[in-house]
């Protein structure tokens, strides 16, 4: 008696599929521009097959049972491929939930006892709801992977170490300097000092929106590490409002060479290396 409804569903698979297809085709938001009806039927049949074949008395109440692994896999595949095709998560959700309507309608036609009908409908309803959630989760997971990859890429491209001159490195920092960022900056800088044999590093903080005590502490650490490597570190790009704020905060940066602009930091670096930049004299003028 109990698993009668499951038998009914399995027996009437064809009718359910027809009903489901009818529901889908009648749906206002049907995207026949993204997927033709033939493909839709194939996809729906595959899902329905997997669902009904694994449906049993034990599994009906447990969407996470291992017997539904194929169903979950198919759903995840559908969710991902649909996301790529340009379906919205809502449309994919509606696709799964419209199956519920077809299943419930079939049960209603077959079971006459309202108590049993209610109990069975509730079970099927819960099961399909969980499957609907699977499609959302997969969709979000796909998006999150994209975001994580982009975060990694940003971290990588946002800390370039530039050799501005033989022996002089420049490191423009753009954005907030947090602990993990400082770690990347420091590693890149120290590595580059070794590789290029540079003796001066310029840290440009023009692109850092705010310098609080934590950022300052990170800067001081970076400078100390650079000095340990035998190189000198100049911090440039200190804007007027940053200077005032740092003073009020009571941060002591007097041990560090700081400059307002990258240009003046570069000039200081040239002086330290005993280099001189001179204007090219015109040969004719000398002769004249």
């Amino acid at each position: 008696m109990k698993n009668e409804s499951i038998k009914i569903l399995q027996k009437r698979k064809k009718a359910i599929l027809e009903l489901w297809m009818k529901n889908q085709l009648a749906e206002e938001g049907l995207r026949d521009d993204l997927m033709n009806n033939e493909d839709l039927r194939v996809q729906s049949e595959e899902l329905l097959d997997a669902l009904l074949n694994n449906l049993s008395d034990d599994t009906v109440g447990d969407a996470e049972s291992s017997q539904f692994d194929t169903v979950t896999d198919i759903l995840a595949g559908i969710s991902v491929s649909r996301a790529r095709q340009g379906f919205s998560p809502r449309e994919t959700g509606v696709y799964v939930f419209s199956l519920k309507d077809a299943l419930l309608e079939t049960l209603q036609q077959e079971i006459k006892d309202p108590v049993i009908l209610y109990a069975q409908s509730l079970k099927i309803s819960k099961l399909i709801d969980s499957f609907g959630i699977v499609t959302f989760e997969t969709f979000i997971k796909g998006r999150e992977e994209v975001i994580l990859r982009q975060t990694d890429e940003i971290a990588e491209i946002s800390t370039p170490v530039i050799r501005v001159w033989d022996g002089i490195l420049a490191l423009p920092i753009i954005g907030t300097l947090d602990s993990s960022r400082t770690q990347i900056v420091m590693e890149n800088l120290l590595q580059e000092i070794v590789e290029s044999g540079s003796s001066i590093a310029i840290l440009d903080i023009s692109g850092v929106p705010a310098v609080d005590s934590l950022v300052a502490q990170h800067l001081i650490k970076t400078v100390s590490a650079t000095r340990l490597m035998g190189a000198e570190c100049i911090i440039s790009g200190i804007r007027p409002e940053i200077a005032q704020t740092v003073v009020h905060l009571g941060i002591d940066l007097s041990q560090i060479i700081t400059k307002a602009s990258l240009a003046s930091a570069l000039r200081t670096a040239y002086t330290m290396l005993q280099l001189e930049v001179v204007k090219k004299r015109r040969f004719e003028k000398e002769n004249a």
Binding site: S179, D212, L214, Q217, T245, H248, G250
Partner: protein, 138 residues
Amino acid sequence: MTMLTLNKDTMAVVKEQDVVPLRNRVKEYATKIGMGLVNQTKLITAASELVRNMLKYAKGGKVFIEVVSKGRENGIRLVFEDKGPGISDVALAMKDGYSTGKSLGLGLPGARRLVSEFDIQSTPGKGTTVTVIKWKNG
């Protein structure tokens, strides 16, 4: 003179990634009342210090951002409320260079110097509330 609250906003801070959006929100409000760049930077830096303290010692809390008005002067009031372990000796915590963590120990005293008005209430075991006001021309 009575102080009027003109505009109110709440933000929950629970992770390090929330610091930047908070700073941007404070900046938005400060720009709206026409605060100058230097005062803006001071307020944002103070907010940054206090919110970092909140994250580090209390694992997060709530920040209230308000536009306040007193007479002809407009300003921004920020309230940082957490339910962390609290501070056992507030006077010591307000001293330059004192830190129970491994930081510079400038967060609280520095923040006080950056704003116009500063108030701290802390009960050990219950939590800490820091209120700061920065007047537009203060």
